[in-house]
Amino acid sequence: MELMITPWLAEPGLVHFLIVSALLLSLGLMAVLSRRNVIMVLMGVELILNSANINLIAFSRYTSLSLEGQMIALFVIIIAAAEAAVALAIVLNMYSRFNTVHLDEIDSLKG
């Protein structure tokens, strides 16, 4: 057992990066599900996007995907930037209207 695991640990390859991304994904999921603060949820979403990016770039290095994976990661980053700008504008609006940033207290459809 030890003989098998040690060389596997010594040379980080595709699976190592995938495991890191899986951990980040579940942590992001945890943040999205368990926190009430909108901004905290947004941070969880950023973490999930990043874990997806790690996957894409790891694939672009170790498989025949080549640079395409990096390209898609680049677009993910662009979209994340746009998302953050709009989401935070919405959060500020929400705060000025409801005076709270807790998601479960914002339950009326009419402003």
């Binding site: 640990l9 980080p12 990066f17 368990s34 973490l47 290095r61 170790y62």
Partner: protein, 171 residues
């Protein structure tokens, strides 16, 4: 263990550890700064994966842009100006269950799949090739992304001007 392995383990511990601090921290500003360390660690992982341009973009956009936006959001919603702020958590049990199940499933799937791997290409740079790709195969997504960013900026500005309009009406 060679240098790459050491760097990989060091920065994956930093990344995952900082992400864990971010999720479980009581103080939301601590969460935001933990996210900063996590994102910087991810940038180092990108460098290990021979994606230097993406790594720099990650720093510039995530750390220099999005994180500052998030911090501004925190400070402007008056949640974070005091140290005493306590974060509230809900649904702790189902969330942790779901996260654990996701982790186990994903790791199992990753470990058991036989990946179609090729020998890693030794690239000295990616910028040139990325630029060629961006201007040839990916020209349409590139333009659409530009338009999307423009719309996002206009939308964000419009919303924040409406915000001040609402405040003025109230006064």
């Amino acid at each position: 263990m060679d240098l790459t392995a050491i760097v990989f383990y060091l920065f994956s511990i930093v990344t995952v550890g900082a992400a864990a601090i971010m999720v479980f921290s009581k103080n939301i500003v601590h969460s935001a700064f933990a996210l900063m360390f996590s994102l910087a660690g991810i940038a180092v992982l990108y460098v290990l994966l021979y994606a230097d341009f993406i790594a720099a973009t990650q720093l510039l956009v995530y750390v220099g842009g999005i994180l500052i936006l998030i911090l501004f959001g925190l400070m402007l919603t008056e949640q974070a100006v005091t140290q005493k702020f306590k974060a509230v958590t809900v649904n702790m049990l189902p969330a942790s269950l779901l996260a654990a199940v996701t982790t186990v499933l994903l790791v199992y799937a990753y470990a058991t799949t036989s990946w179609q791997m090729v020998m890693p290409e030794e690239r000295s740079e990616t910028v040139y090739d990325l630029g060629i790709l961006l201007m040839s195969d990916y020209i349409l997504p590139f333009i659409i992304a530009g338009v999307l960013l423009l719309i996002a900026i206009v939308g964000a500005i419009l919303m924040s001007t409406r915000l001040t309009a609402i405040k003025n009406e109230e006064q």
